[in-house]
């Protein structure tokens, strides 16, 4: 288990050395990244098999918590760490697209993303979060167009604002508790953070981390970045980075801020996210921005789900998040060649039948059409909302359904266009082989999930149960209860 740190540092050290390796052999530099990601995926997978339903903490530097930094490895963290490694492997800039710097940045994203999922220390999470942020600014400007630079600086300003606020939030928490270890914070939270100061810290942290998680209303960067970045990068940001931020928010919510106010805040912001995202997508005129707005809406649903306290909400939210994690990258890859106006997609199915068929499949699952996995995830969200019974939760359910009606309409408007006869003035382009292969793989995964629903659901329920089990977290980390002598 100790070697799980390699999930983080192996990509980092490779990224540091990539320019050096490149000096000696371009070929080696080009393939060392995928190789390292393959290795980390393997390490993660073998750890997953070893872990079972247990949880372990890695004490970095060998210091007993809460003195040092710990990584907390449970199924949730490991799942997302593996997803990051594997996801970056899939979305790697193969064929030397974008050159050495993009490869370096992608490796850094893999390392920092895994770290963000695994970290069990509040400030360490902040550092990882900033690292992920800086990597995403770098990736966002890959195309080096003026619009990309403008979008990136706008993104940076919102994100930096949010980060500064979360730093202030961390200061508030540290002031109240004197520790940064999540396990110890979980121990102390009912006593020390269950007040105005704690809630204010939550607000600041939520808004800060919400920037990456596409939380309304700090998500104005989403359509701009996704329209100007390469679609591979959009896939990484929408698929992986947003989910990592979501996982961090989930951890904070479960461990430190179980107050009803925190959940209500998340619920309201989630509802607004679904409403604004889906409505804005209704009239979006190019595919990247349709996907961007839809992504905002989908993450809104995830937040609505997490606002249901207890295992049911976490289960539903994780199902939604994982589903979106699978679907959105694939859709963005398909949009790589289809990034012009929607009108330009007329007849696209003729040029790329497989691409169009995959687009239909992913759209159907995104809408939640049974028996595709998206339906079950949405059903979980809706049943958990209905179980709450309160009016605001019912509003959430109604808004999700309204969103689905809108989403069905705008996605199928696009699909209908694709299957029309192509205009005489040039057909839209087909897909690159690599994009198509990766999307097909994800599509196959989606279909496989249909047949493995029951075991997957059981496993996911187990993960949700473990995630909400605060005692297990505390016991696994076992912070020494040092108290202030004063």
């Amino acid at each position: 288990m100790n070697n799980l740190i390699l999930l983080v540092v192996l990509p980092l050290i490779t990224a540091f050395l990539l320019p050096v390796i490149d000096r000696f052999s371009t070929l080696a530099a080009r393939w060392s990244g995928p190789l390292v990601l393959l290795i980390t995926t393997f390490i993660g997978a073998s750890a997953w098999l070893q872990l079972g339903t247990g949880a372990v903490s890695l004490e970095l530097g060998g210091f007993r918590p809460p003195l040092g930094i710990v990584l907390y490895v449970d199924q949730l963290a490991l799942l997302f760490a593996i997803a990051v490694s594997f996801g970056t492997l899939l979305l790697w800039p193969y064929g030397n697209r974008g050159g050495l710097r993009q490869q370096t940045l992608t490796l850094l994203l893999a390392g920092s993303g895994s770290g963000l999922a695994l970290s069990g220390d509040l400030f360490n999470i902040y550092v990882f979060y900033e690292l992920v942020a800086v990597v995403s600014y770098g990736l966002a400007v890959s195309l080096r167009t003026p619009a990309a630079f403008a979008a990136a600086i706008r993104y940076l300003i919102i994100s930096g604002f949010g980060a500064a606020l979360s730093l202030a939030g961390i200061a508030l928490i540290y002031d109240a508790t004197g520790t940064l270890n999540l396990a110890q914070l979980a121990q102390l939270a009912p006593e020390k953070l269950n007040d105005l100061q704690g809630l204010s810290a939550f607000v600041l942290l939520l808004i800060g981390i919400g920037v990456k998680a596409e939380l309304f209303p700090v998500n104005t960067w989403v359509p701009e970045i996704y329209a100007t970045a390469p679609k591979r990068v959009s896939a990484l940001l929408a698929g992986l980075v947003s989910k990592l931020a979501v996982v961090v928010i989930l951890r904070l919510l479960v461990l430190i801020f179980p107050q009803p106010e925190a959940h209500t805040l998340l619920l309201v912001l989630g509802i607004l996210g679904v409403l604004t995202g889906e409505l804005a997508a209704w009239r979006a005129r190019d595919l990247p921005r349709v996907l961007a707005y839809s992504s905002i809406g989908q993450l809104g649903i995830v937040f609505i789900a997490f606002s249901v306290p207890g295992e049911a909400g976490v289960f539903a939210g994780l199902a939604m998040a994982l589903h979106h994690l699978l679907i959105k990258p694939a859709l963005f890859l398909l949009a790589e060649r289809w990034d012009g106006s929607l009108a330009g997609l007329t007849g696209a199915a003729k040029a790329s039948p497989l691409g169009a068929a995959l687009f239909v499949l992913f759209s159907l699952s995104l809408l939640g059409i049974p028996p595709l996995p998206g339906f079950w995830a949405k059903l979980l969200v809706l049943t958990s909302l209905a179980q709450m019974g309160a009016a605001l939760y019912y509003t959430g359910a109604v808004v999700i359904m309204l969103g689905m009606v809108l989403e069905a309409n705008y996605l199928f408007r696009i699909i209908a266009r694709m299957y029309q006869k192509a205009p005489s003035t040039g057909t839209p382009p087909g897909h690159g082989r690599l994009d198509l292969a990766i999307s097909s793989m994800l599509g196959a995964g989606l279909i496989a999930a249909v047949f493995l629903l029951a075991p997957l659901a059981d496993r996911l329920q187990g993960i949700a149960a473990q995630t909400v089990d605060v005692n297990q977290y505390i016991e696994a980390v076992n912070p020494v209860p040092t108290r202030n002598p004063i």
């Binding site: 400030f123 550092v127 900033e130 942020a133 800086v134 600014y137 770098g138 400007v141 167009t145 003026p146 619009a147 630079f149 403008a150 979008a151 990136a152 600086i153 706008r154 940076l156 300003i157 930096g160 604002f161 980060a163 500064a164 606020l165 730093l167 202030a168 961390i170 200061a171 540290y174 002031d175 004197g178 940064l180 701009e224 329209a227 100007t228 005129r285 190019d286 990247p288 990034d339 012009g340 106006s341 330009g344």
Partner: protein, 148 residues
């Protein structure tokens, strides 16, 4: 006014000035500086949480362990936070320079409009119709009759 209030007022003031620069100014450069101020304010707040009245710095000189030392952790955290902020600001400045080179302006409104226009051009779309009639940017061709 005791020391603590003054210190906290400083942190609060830095954060407010930074925020003001972010929301009130449309100038990109000022926004980046505002961001730096905001970060400094937050860092100051963080380091203040480790202050203990009447304690000495956490350095053991000549093997003598002081009776009461301040919390070393926030100092280390702030060290990290400052370096992070430094990196982000360097990158931000680079991006600002790039944007200025491309669009010839630091004005956020103008930059946003040019960006929207670039995105639409690239996608082959008309600019979305807006109630705000945009002024022609510096150096732009004169709008034809009925273009807007």
């Amino acid at each position: 006014m005791d020391m603590g209030t003054l210190m906290f007022a400083g942190a609060l003031g830095l954060m407010l000035i930074g925020t003001a620069a972010l929301v009130l100014s449309g100038h990109l450069m000022r926004m980046v500086f505002g961001l730096a101020l905001l970060e400094s304010g937050a860092s100051l707040l963080l380091v203040l949480t480790g202050y203990r009245s009447g304690a000495s710095a956490p350095i053991i000189l000549d093997g003598v362990v002081p009776a009461s030392m301040v919390d070393p952790v926030p100092q280390a955290l702030v060290l990290t936070a400052i370096v992070i902020a430094l990196g982000v600001q360097a990158l931000a400045l680079g991006l600002v320079l790039r944007v200025h080179r491309a669009y010839g302006t630091f004005e956020m409104r103008e930059i946003r409009r040019r960006m929207e226009r670039d995105i639409c051009d690239q996608a082959g779309l008309e600019l979305p119709s807006s109630n705000e009639v945009p002024e022609p940017y510096p150096g732009s061709p004169k709008p034809q009759q009925g273009e807007y």
